[in-house]
Amino acid sequence: MNGNHLIRVCGLKKHYKDGAIKALNGVDLEVSKGEVIVIIGPSGCGKSTFLRSLNLLEVPNEGHIYLSDVDITDRKVNINHHRQKVGMVFQHFNLFPNMTILDNMTLAPVKLKKATKEQAEKKAMELLRVVGLEDRAGAYPNQLSGGQKQRVAIVRALCMEPEVMLFDEPTSALDPEMVGEVLDVMKRLAADGMTMLVVTHEMGFAREVADRVIFMDEGVIMEEGTPEEIFNHPKNERTKSFLNKVL
């Protein structure tokens, strides 16, 4: 086992409809602590499925996922325990509409006994201050703009002090003028050393922040490299034609 890798994925396969749809067709990946990985690829290539299988929101059919050297695909592990270490940010925010921002953020830490209510609230307020939303702590999600909601969703995940953060198209549901504020929060997080896997169409973000860019197609990793390698000197034909379309 290689202790340097926070996440190690081996031969991951996921199919739907009794194998008719092969969403993941053998994915291997190693992620070191502090690494920022951006995943790009055409629609339907399995980006979301891959990200979601990293915390077992999708249960893979084959392969293994090691999180800090524990195989979370093993039926015997307590997945709830491991999910606490893996923060996830969704395209549609998925804030809890019946709770205030503060309660959204403190629910899991308090119920999972990671912190007392006071500690959790103190931490939540600190995080809200960082993303410039401390005055909205008592508001309900419906009272926020899309960009504000996504910033809250990010800090809600951070309240659990995760070791890695997964982002599935975090800015795709936002109006263009709100994309920047969310990307800024993510950049800050990356600069603070958070390990991140980000599915996004924001190529500027990928160039600027990613340590590694992964191009996926047809359920496998077609090409990976530094942003410079992928964006300026792609080797794979598929990568080239995909980049031609999006850049």
Partner: protein
């Protein structure tokens, strides 16, 4: 004073005042409320349990690791489905006759039989209301809960069910109203509910106008009062979101 007013006055006195016949109605109101209230409680308990089994089966069956638990859940789900089909597929009146004259024939506590009969009937409808409410909550809500590390039960309890409750409140209130009115058939098996009270007065006095109009008005007032209560509650719940 015209003749017909004098007659109405006399009829009124015969119907309610003479021999304190209004007491039949008061007793009827009490029994109708007791019957509806406890039947609803039983119905909600049954409904929650059945909805829990059915949704857990639908959402969690593949995730459960223990084979014994899996087996229990599958059997439980099958029983729930049979119960729902039978109860929703037969008339309430027939169910009540069966409970009174077949299943609980040896019991002479009529009120208890009535509560059980109406509770079992209502449970089927409440279960489907709750299950529908749970299914209407966006799947992203429970995914967000699970991704934070909350387990299935915690996610349901803290995130999904509070949202469900608010959504299904109108349907539950409607079920209560239906139940309240449906208890009018309890008189057929000897529960002295409100409708039965009116029928007793009719039997004694050979008059229908006043007793029947009176109970219609009483049912109406009870339903309106309850509707008002639910509106208050709904408004309070809604305030927390906007």
């Amino acid at each position: 004073m015209p003749e017909w007013i004098v007659k109405l006055q006399k009829d009124f006195i015969t119907a309610f005042v003479e021999d304190n016949r209004w007491k039949y109605l008061v007793e009827g109101i009490q029994n109708t409320i007791i019957l509806t209230f406890f039947a609803l409680i039983l119905g909600v308990i049954l409904g929650v349990v059945i909805a829990a089994v059915r949704t857990t089966y639908d959402k969690q069956y593949t995730e459960i690791k223990n084979p014994v638990g899996k087996c229990f859940l599958a059997v439980g789900n099958w029983f729930c489905k049979v119960y729902l089909t039978v109860i929703r597929g037969t008339p309430a009146m027939v169910q009540i006759l069966i409970i009174f004259f077949v299943i609980m024939a040896s019991s002479d506590n009529k009120m208890l039989c009535g509560i059980i009969a109406f509770g079992i009937n209502s449970g089927a409808y409440v279960a489907e209301i709750i299950r529908g409410g749970i299914m209407s909550i966006d799947g992203g809500q429970s995914e967000a809960g699970r991704s934070l590390g909350l387990n299935y039960v915690q996610t349901m309890w803290y995130i999904v069910l509070p949202q469900t409750f608010k959504n299904i409140l109108p349907a539950l209130a409607n079920e209560f109203i239906v139940l309240l009115k449906e208890t009018a058939i309890a008189g057929y098996v000897g529960v002295t509910d409100l409708t039965r009270g009116a029928n007793i007065i009719r039997g004694i006095t050979y008059q229908s106008l006043f007793p029947l109009l009176a109970i219609a008005a009483i049912y109406l007032v009870m339903v309106m009062f309850f509707t008002w209560l639910v509106e208050l509650l709904e408004r309070r719940l809604r305030k927390s979101e906007r």
